[in-house]
């Protein structure tokens, strides 16, 4: 489609101005800060690449980076699977689907503090609902400490976050499903296609642009998560459930090492940005546009 040369810029003008002033200026500033030592309350001091050198040499950083990758590998597939399943479930012409659409969205708006406290109640080592069930119904003698054992804590956080935000993914998938022409599905059914085939060969390909969007957004969300971590495990035990975003928060607003926190942020950006770029490149292979 051809439009006059200046037309696109008229359409993106408000966003462009905002992007430059309110996003790129602070980002540029904080990128500069990543080369300083800055505790926020006194002037920054230039230290060149020291922050980057320190982080690359620190075992803590590598442990946290590893956690971040594991977290994303668990969280992204789980949350996308859950979100898509929920969307497909409530998109059916069922009695009460309006009600269920509302119910499944609730965790996304329930306050994180309440979510974390309720889940602590479920996951507590002693008196926790889950462990009580394991002991009473399955005869487990020493049920695990889900939040206190370094082997499980990270997965517990990833699972709770996936549970909490699946409603959000559901909403996006649901909007995508509305754009799929019902008549295509009906025609395929008349031609003898099974439900599974319709889903595989019609719904999924037509949904792929939104799936792509949800994938990128979930990836970003997984790299930015810190509220649930904070409220559920505090990143512990030791650093077992600390991911980069929480580590950045700790350094920025608990230790007031803003320079170091910024260098962490730009390392994270390099990593997630790279992954995002790869996804954009690979998009051609599986995303179908109308």
């Amino acid at each position: 489609m051809r439009y006059a040369k200046f037309t696109p810029f008229l359409f993106i003008l408000p966003m462009l101005v905002g992007l430059l002033v309110f996003r790129l200026i602070p980002i540029g500033f904080s990128f500069g800060i990543s080369f300083t030592s800055w505790n926020i309350f006194s002037p920054p001091r230039w230290i060149g690449f020291d922050n980057y050198r320190t982080l690359l040499q620190s075992p803590a950083f590598w442990e946290v980076a590893r956690n971040t990758v594991v977290f994303a590998l668990v969280f992204v597939p789980v949350v996308m699977g859950l979100g898509l399943s929920l969307a497909l479930l409530v998109n059916q012409k069922l009695r009460g689907s309006t009600f269920f659409r509302g119910v499944f969205f609730m965790p996304y708006i329930t306050s994180i503090v309440a979510v974390a406290l309720a889940w602590k109640w479920i996951l507590a080592t002693r008196f926790g609902l889950l462990n009580n069930a394991l002991m009473d119904w399955f005869g487990v003698q020493h049920p695990p400490s889900w939040l206190g054992d370094p082997r499980y804590a990270l997965f517990a956080v990833a699972f709770v976050l996936a549970w909490q935000s699946a409603g959000f993914q559901m909403l996006l998938f649901l909007a995508g499903l509305q754009n799929i022409d019902e008549s295509l599905k009906e025609a395929a059914m008349i031609d003898g296609a099974s439900r599974g085939q319709v889903f595989r060969f019609i719904t999924l390909p037509l949904l792929s642009p939104i799936t792509f969007f949800v994938l990128i957004i979930s990836l970003i969300a997984s790299s930015q998560t810190f509220e649930v971590t904070y409220a559920l495990t505090g990143g512990g035990p030791q650093r077992a459930s600390t991911t980069l975003a929480f580590y950045i928060y700790q350094n920025a607003f608990v230790h007031f090492q803003m320079g170091f926190a910024s260098s962490l942020a730009y390392t994270l950006l390099l990593f997630v940005g790279g992954l995002t770029l790869v996804n954009f490149v690979l998009r051609r292979r599986w995303v179908h546009y109308g």
Partner: protein
């Protein structure tokens, strides 16, 4: 002859009974499917609602009863003379109605603004060619990757320069102008619209704005409604920015008000949960109102 007729009747009967059996089997199968679907829906519903119930019940507890062992779901305040004490205290002692009004203004303005700016930009990114398009789009996505913790202090210093402290401008304007998430969402959504619609309109002499306004916007109703819900919720829950930018008691937003229920040595959990229940009600309403636009956008059957 008679035999033939009888045979024909028999065959007919067989066909009918076979059809009835198939229908019965089909009905049985759909019953099984229905039970399975409702079963899984109910299981999911229970798991998703549990923390909400926990929050609701805690808001009806006496302060000392929140962390009892073994844990219980007994709203102990309901057996006292003042069952709604937590709510009345939060609403009147902490001026929550005003905070809620402020939050409503901020979230509605920012979310509505995002619908306009994101759909305009999304339309351009999805349907037009222009220099630096991929660079600009990349920059936009890139802003989503930088954690707010490291950009918020520079942003604060910028707002000080602009003289925007103690106003709603820092809460509304940046969010309204650059909805990176929303632009990305609408770009992807607009890309799925068949080019034929756009071409037909161009041949009819429609201006770019008219095509955007009269063809693309209506088609995107489900996505726009989703975006509104998400933008509203994001802005409604925003805490770090109000903490930094708002001093004036009368300008406080709800999450900022809720922080006053947490203390250095102690937090009032029952009040905090009552406040949380109040604070999610508007989000539920917005979501419910948006639902009818999200499901089967009225024009979507028009795409062929």
């Amino acid at each position: 002859m008679a035999d033939v007729r009888r045979d024909a009747r028999l065959v007919q009967l067989e066909i009918v009974s076979a059809a009835m059996g198939a229908r019965r089997r089909k009905r049985l199968r759909s019953l099984v499917t229905n039970v399975a679907v409702y079963g899984s829906l109910l299981v999911f519903a229970f798991i998703t609602l549990f923390p909400f119930f926990w929050m609701l019940i805690t808001s009806f507890k006496l302060p000392g009863d929140v962390f009892r062992l073994p844990p219980n779901l007994r709203p102990s305040l309901l057996w006292t003379e003042t069952p709604f004490a937590n709510y009345t205290q939060v609403l009147f002692q902490f001026d929550f109605l005003r905070y809620a009004g402020n939050s409503l203004f901020v979230a509605t303005t920012a979310a509505t603004g995002q619908l306009v700016t994101c759909s305009l930009a999304g339309f351009a990114f999805a349907r037009m060619r222009f220099p630096l398009k991929n660079v600009l789009f990349g920059l936009l996505i890139f802003t989503l990757l930088v954690p707010i913790e490291v950009t918020i202090i520079p942003e604060f210093l910028l707002m000080v320069r602009l003289g925007w402290l103690d106003t709603y401008l820092p809460l509304i304007v940046p969010s309204l102008m650059v909805g990176a998430f929303g632009t990305f969402l609408l770009t992807e959504y607009f890309k799925t619209v068949p080019a034929s619609l756009e071409e037909a309109a161009t041949i009819d002499g429609a201006s770019p704005f008219a095509i955007y306004r009269h063809i693309f916007l209506p088609l995107a109703t489900p996505a726009l409604a989703s975006l509104f819900v998400i933008a509203f919720i994001t802005n409604w829950n925003e805490l770090l920015r109000p903490v930094l930018y708002i001093s004036d008691r009368n300008l406080r937003t709800l999450p900022l008000g809720l922080t006053t229920l947490q203390g250095q040595y102690e937090s009032s959990w029952t009040l905090l949960m009552a406040g949380s229940v109040i604070s999610i009600l508007p989000m539920i309403l917005v979501y419910l109102a948006a639902q009818k636009y999200i499901i089967r956008g009225f024009m979507s059957s028009g795409i062929k």
